[in-house]
């Protein structure tokens, strides 16, 4: 017997309601997003994601997958009894990152119909200084004229001096404060002759004194033969 349109719609709506009820997970997260504000000297930022099993069956956490190698996630217990609470501790290694960073951790459980939970760790890492640009390049045939890197210091940090050195002695560097600005200017001059050079500039501000920071800029003098240009006839 063919089904009427009305009955068909009612059945579809009913099915959708049943399915949506079934998706309800019993592992409830108190804070699936955590905002962290590490200080300049912190090497890691640690987030605690708390959960509770609100169902009447034990839930097994089958996988905890951070989005990048910079984040590790530790789980105290993988089976959560009904009514039990717990937490996942995520440790984000800051490295030489700065600014806004968002890392995610996918948590999967053995609950039927559950697609897992995506936990979010947001870290706002202070930017002590900004290099513009962080890479200087001399093309083949370029005159070895000096180029500059502007170093902008964040207003919150009392940097008064920058020590700059080059890994190649043929790259001469000089650092000087920019008058009336919280900034420095690094002047870089290649004295390499025809020799190709790839060098790193080590930039060390005098703050923070308890946890000195080193920043790097890169310099390349390309000494490949310059492309041939036919002389005008």
């Amino acid at each position: 017997m063919p089904m009427s349109t009305g009955r068909c719609s009612a059945l579809t709506i009913g099915l959708c309601v049943c399915l949506s009820l079934g998706v309800d997970a019993s592992l409830v997260w108190e804070n699936p997003e955590v905002d962290l504000h590490p200080t300049l000297s912190d090497k890691t930022a640690v987030a605690h994601f708390k959960y509770k099993n609100t169902g009447d069956q034990p839930v097994k956490i089958t996988a905890v997958q951070p989005s990048c190698g910079c984040t590790t996630a530790a789980l105290a217990k993988d089976v959560v009894a009904p009514g039990e609470s717990g937490e996942i501790t995520a440790t984000f290694n800051i490295g030489d990152r700065s600014g806004e960073q968002t890392k995610t951790i996918r948590v999967r459980t053995d609950e039927p119909k559950s697609e897992g939970t995506l936990l979010k760790l947001k870290a706002t890492i202070p930017r002590l200084l900004e290099l513009a640009p962080a890479f200087l390049y001399w093309r083949p045939g370029d005159a070895p004229a000096p180029k500059t890197i502007e170093v902008k210091i964040d207003a919150d940090f009392p940097v008064t001096k920058l020590d700059v050195s080059s890994t190649d002695p043929a790259i001469k560097v000089e650092s000087a404060p920019v008058p009336n600005e919280k900034a420095f200017r690094i002047t870089v001059t290649p004295e390499t002759g025809n020799r190709p050079v790839n060098a790193a500039l080590k930039i060390q501000p005098d703050f923070p004194k308890d946890a000195p920071k080193t920043f790097y800029a890169n310099v390349r003098v390309d000494a490949r033969p310059a492309p041939f240009v036919a002389p005008p006839k």
């Binding site: 989005s67 990048c68 190698g69 910079c70 290694n93 490295g95 030489d96 990152r97 968002t102 290099l131 640009p133 962080a134 890479f135 390049y137 093309r139 790839n198 790193a200 790097y216 890169n218 390349r220 390309d222 490949r224």
Partner: protein, 142 residues
């Protein structure tokens, strides 16, 4: 009869224009075609393969993933070891080469983060992100 038909068509066209005009006024100076694409510098595997030797491939995945397999000739660069890996990439780069960065799949973010740093901090041009990442590259090789 024909005149009625034409009038009806004109009415319908006019009605269709009303919300369009409203939207144009509301979003004045902010039209879709004036906006930059979400990521203008994404390339497909097919496009990338067409560029041939002009491409410098950059793998933004973790050490383990890179060690297990990568695009032939790719160099590794990720934010975990940025300071150590970047000089090698810059030594291999030249202005005429195109940098294509990839991570595991379409939803991973590492390739975008690396591309953004190369463009903004190091001032490199011709920096692209591979659509679909390593997952898509593998499919194209099957």
């Amino acid at each position: 009869m024909r005149a009625i038909l034409i009038r009806q068509v004109l009415w319908l066209v006019g009605l269709a224009f009303l919300p369009a005009i409203g939207q144009a006024l509301y979003y004045r100076g902010n039209a879709a075609w004036q906006q930059p694409p979400v990521d203008a510098a994404q390339v497909t595997v097919a496009q990338a393969k067409n560029w041939g030797a002009a491409v410098l491939w950059i793998d933004a995945r973790s050490d383990g993933q890179f060690a297990s397999a990568h695009v032939p000739g790719a160099m590794q660069l990720n934010e975990d070891d940025w300071t150590e890996l970047l000089p090698k990439v810059l030594a291999a780069w030249s202005p005429e080469r195109k940098l294509i960065i990839y991570c595991s799949r379409q939803t991973c973010n590492a390739s975008h983060a690396v591309a953004e740093r190369l463009r903004n901090e190091d001032g490199l041009k011709n920096v692209y992100v591979l659509q679909g990442g390593w997952e898509e590259w593998q499919k194209s090789d099957q």
